[in-house]
């Protein structure tokens, strides 16, 4: 079905199973070590090891592979000299490897060593002797803003938007804020390294690979290897996190596929933790300028947001950090602009909530600064700028309960105890502050299909090329099928992660649950229709419960209707609703922070997120995901900083010891996420919205605002580390 109109009442509204805080159906596999990830699928494979370029730009002048080839156990050393010709395109279309002597970013694979054992492959990889003719390049974003251009990202929103007369309205606004914020380079740092096990059966390729969007990956691999798409199968039932880092095909998949083809044996490779940082994608740093002009009552008359980000010069993907500014607040004069700086660094691409995650770190702190200037409560300022419709596109919101989130959060968090004057509250050596931020994230729907089968044993089986990257997809799909067919959860089997199943959107951009769940919902509708018809009942009024279908007094066990098994298909397409409506999920973040009065050390004491994101499909996994996002936001605010060496164009801290993500000690147990009841009739048949990224959107800004409230240090360069705070700390008497 095309999503063109409100869906009206449907069978999910009963919420007997959907929405309940049920344990994950794959939980047992995960806690017993039984869940198998790509690298673990078969044991008789050869082992590959990547050799990375040790320059950022230039040319390979020679590669001596002799020592590596003679090393014990080595079967193959692939370089650009013996690699096949491959299809090309940007990083979302193709991923050719070892294409020639030219090096265009640091860490790009220059050789791939395959041996009988991992130890042999690794040792031989260090025997490959590569000589380069290095060239200078452009590496650091801040140094090359003069080269910025307007990006043309085919699958993205327009880079610029303008409504009314921003500059005139801003210039004459009685209250103005003009601030610049910087966010650093970041890495997804998912726990499972990118890994692929490749095997060929004649012309047919099977890849067990850590990939979030299998059908997309299938297309990219076919194009890269110049083989028909029907000859490529991707399998990925379990993925150890993605956060955008596994949206696209990476070098591990292509290298393993080529080597397995040459050697006629399965080949597997996992990138080392260090390699991940350069061989795969990262989030660009940003430099953002936010300008807010209001009347004396705090009503926005002019809102402007300019964003610079960088990428490898052949790419068009930019960090769309001003997107949320187009729809979050009212104001009749508006200007947003994204500029992309072509650089000679690894490819920058989507990381959890691309755009909003870092855009809100600037916009929502600027709002805090504005509130202070206006002597207005930050929540009141936001309420005064609550728009009645999308202020740029002039279309209605599908649903929007931002104000309710802020008010409910304020009540639960004790916002009224906040002292608006910074540096006033102490707890021993700690200066204590609280802060808040609004949160918003786009809510897309993508094409997906599902197959559903009911067998004589009474077990329903769902099949989709969907993935579960830890989001809980297995469980929510089982809940949807169980609810719709009136079966207990244990009688639903969910098979995901294989392109032999019907095409699905995959996991990314907060579209996974809505897209895959809606396709399954449609398949359930079709199967209900078939079953009711077989039972001689009106499909519209037949009730499905307790493994039976019933109407009036008549009730039949489903197993009596299935024959040797009965199947149905379902599909969903975004339809017009994506254009006719402004679709976002919303939330409000609250944080209480302690800042050590002597050292500037920051401790998160409490966090609360209140969200309105349509129907919650599983209260337990939704809460986990939201909290996971909030912790990601805490990492962005306080810890994460991928440091680029501006001389040599590589990421200095390319491991988990030096790229700091939050650990247990950083995160207080007093952190909670609440969902307000909301059904969005116009988002999709489930009436849900995406929640995988909403948790991060605004969480970091709430922390930054709390730090300001605690100690008066307004740090506009993330992450907010103690060295930056120290100079602004109030002097101790």
């Amino acid at each position: 079905m095309d999503m063109n109109a409100p869906v009206g009442a449907n069978a999910l509204d009963a919420e007997r199973i959907v929405g309940k805080p049920l344990d994950r159906i794959d939980g047992r596999l995960k806690v017993t070590g039984g869940a198998r990830y790509a690298y673990e699928m078969q044991q008789d494979a050869l082992y590959g090891f990547v050799v990375e370029a040790s320059i950022a730009k230039g040319k390979i002048t020679s590669i001596d592979t002799l020592a590596a080839e003679r090393s014990p156990g080595v079967k193959l050393v692939l370089t650009h000299r013996n690699a096949p010709k491959q299809g090309t395109g940007n990083h979302r279309e193709a991923h050719p490897v070892l294409t020639g002597p030219v090096v265009s970013s640091y860490g790009e694979p220059v050789a791939f060593v395959v041996a009988e054992t991992f130890e042999q492959a690794r040792a031989a990889a260090y025997l490959v002797d590569v000589k380069y003719d290095p060239k200078g390049g452009h590496f650091a974003l801040p140094q090359h803003l003069g080269l910025a251009r307007v990006p043309h990202q085919a699958d993205g929103a327009p880079a610029d938007s303008e409504v009314g007369n921003f500059s005139g309205a801003y210039a004459s606004a009685p209250v103005q804020i003009d601030v610049s914020y910087g966010t650093p380079l970041q890495s997804h740092a998912m726990m499972e390294p990118h890994a692929t096990l490749a095997m060929w059966d004649g012309d047919k390729l099977t890849l067990h690979t850590a990939n979030q969007m299998l059908n997309q990956g299938q297309r990219v691999i076919a194009r890269t290897l110049n083989i028909p798409i029907g000859n490529v199968r991707l399998v990925s039932p379990f993925i150890g996190g993605g956060f955008g880092g596994k949206l696209w095909v990476n070098a591990d998949a292509i290298l393993a596929a080529i080597a397995a083809r040459y050697l006629k044996r399965p080949v597997k490779v996992a990138l080392t933790r260090q390699q991940i940082f350069h061989v795969t994608t990262h989030r660009s740093d940003t430099i953002q300028r936010v300008r807010l002009g209001t009347d004396r009552d705090g009503r926005i008359v002019a809102i402007g947001h300019d964003v610079f980000s960088g990428n490898l010069r052949s790419e068009q993907v930019y960090e769309a950090a001003a997107l949320q500014t187009r729809s979050l607040y009212a104001g009749s004069n508006r200007l947003t602009r994204h500029r992309l700086v072509p650089l000679d660094i690894p490819v920058a691409s989507s990381m959890r909530a691309p755009g909003e995650a870092v855009g809100l770190l600037a916009l929502e702190c600027a709002m805090d600064e504005l509130a202070e200037k206006l002597k207005l409560d930050p929540i009141e300022l936001r309420i005064r700028n609550e728009p009645a419709e999308d202020p740029e596109r002039h279309v209605p919101y599908s649903s929007r309960h931002l104000v309710a989130c802020m008010q409910e959060g304020a009540r639960r968090f004790g916002w009224n105890r906040r002292n608006p004057v910074p540096g006033q509250v102490r707890d021993g050596q700690w200066l204590v502050g609280i802060g808040m931020s609004a949160g918003t994230r786009g809510n897309p729907l993508r094409f997906s299909k599902a197959n559903l089968r009911l067998d004589p044993d009474g077990v329903a089986t769902v099949r989709m090329a969907m993935t579960d990257i830890g989001t809980g997809t297995y469980t929510i799909l089982a809940q949807i099928a169980a609810e719709m067919l009136g079966l207990p959860l244990e009688r639903v089997q969910v098979d995901l992660g294989d392109t032999i199943f019907p095409e699905a959107a995959g996991s990314g951009g907060s579209f996974g649950a809505a897209s895959s769940g809606s396709a399954l919902f449609e398949a359930c509708q079709a199967l209900r229709q078939k079953l009711a018809t077989r039972a001689g009942m009106d499909p519209e009024t037949a009730r499905f419960a307790d493994g039976r279908v019933a109407t009036g007094e008549r009730s039949i066990n489903l197993t009596e209707l299935v024959g040797s098994g009965i199947e149905a298909e379902g599909e969903i397409s975004p339809g017009r609703n994506n254009q006719d409506l402004s679709q976002q999920s919303y939330g409000a973040h609250f944080a209480e922070i302690g800042v050590d009065q002597d050292t500037g050390e920051v401790r998160v004491r409490r966090m609360l997120g209140v969200f309105a994101a349509g129907r919650v499909l599983n209260a337990k996994t939704a809460r986990s995901q939201a909290i996971g996002g909030m912790v990601f936001g805490a990492g962005a605010a306080l810890h994460e900083d991928l440091v680029l060496d501006p001389r040599f164009g590589y990421f200095v801290n390319h491991d988990l010891a030096e790229y700091h993500v939050p650990v247990h000690a950083d995160i207080p147990p007093n952190i909670d996420a609440i969902f307000l009841p909301e059904l969005d009739e116009r988002s999709n048949p489930l009436k849900s919205k995406g929640i995988g990224e909403l948790g991060i959107c605004g969480a970091g800004a709430a922390i930054a605002n709390a730090i300001y409230n605690a100690c008066g240090a307004r740090i506009r360069s993330y992450p907010i580390t103690l060295d930056k705070i120290l100079t602004d700390l109030p002097k101790q008497s």
Partner: protein
């Protein structure tokens, strides 16, 4: 610290291997440093016996094989995960003679005759270990990739605290620890990264399992 690792030796391929920190040093050295060194190290497989989850295994291993790779690649016990191979994430945590160890940071040959418990060895038949059951109940995971390490680490951590081992946040080093506070648990579990950030749920799961064990 092991003295032998830190004297002023020239780093050659051979000394690197002898110090037993192969993975760490090899991948931090620039290319070319090792390339000139002929491959002379003794690669004769070393025969060792590991008692894994109660089963004795005799293995002939390349001496460079980490305990982690011995489990995953040679015994097909893939429940133990490799997140970094450098002792930075905790995904590979197993129990060696009851003590938690990053199995990526230690060579298999160093554990001849020792008893290893992996996540696969915690459940008793169909009955999950209380820590495993608590992780399911409290949703102490998302993607599941850090989970084996978190669970083994938590089991080892509780054993350490029962033996009275203090942590960085233990206020009183004299009094025996009665019950672990949230702070203690968070501090003691901070070697196990969860990028999905199930942290509050993991702490809740550990507290529940802790209660069931006492």
């Amino acid at each position: 610290m092991d003295e032998s690792i830190f004297p002023n030796v020239e780093v050659t391929r051979r000394t690197v291997i002898e110090t037993g920190t192969t993975a760490l040093l090899l991948s931090s050295l620039p290319h070319g440093v090792l390339a000139s060194e002929p491959d002379q190290a003794d690669r004769t497989p070393a025969s060792i016996e590991l008692l894994v989850n109660g089963h004795a295994h005799t293995l002939a291993l390349d001496p460079r094989t980490t305990l982690l790779d011995a489990l995953r690649e040679h015994l097909t016990l893939t429940g133990t995960k490799k997140g970094c191979d450098h002792g930075q994430c905790g995904a590979c945590t197993v129990l060696v003679d009851g003590r938690r160890v990053n199995s990526c940071l230690t060579l298999a040959v160093m554990h001849d005759g020792q008893s290893i418990t992996t996540v696969e060895g915690l459940a008793f038949d169909q009955d999950l270990h209380p820590m495993q059951a608590a992780f399911v109940e409290h949703d102490g995971y998302q993607c599941g990739y850090c989970t084996s390490g978190q669970i083994c680490s938590a089991v080892g951590m509780l054993a350490e605290s029962r033996e009275g081992m203090p942590s960085y946040v233990t206020a009183d080093l004299i009094q025996p620890l009665t019950e672990l506070s949230d702070n203690e648990i968070r501090e003691r579990m901070s070697g196990n990264i969860c990028r999905c950030a199930a942290y509050p749920n993991i702490v809740a799961a550990i507290k529940q399992a802790m209660g069931e064990q006492t």
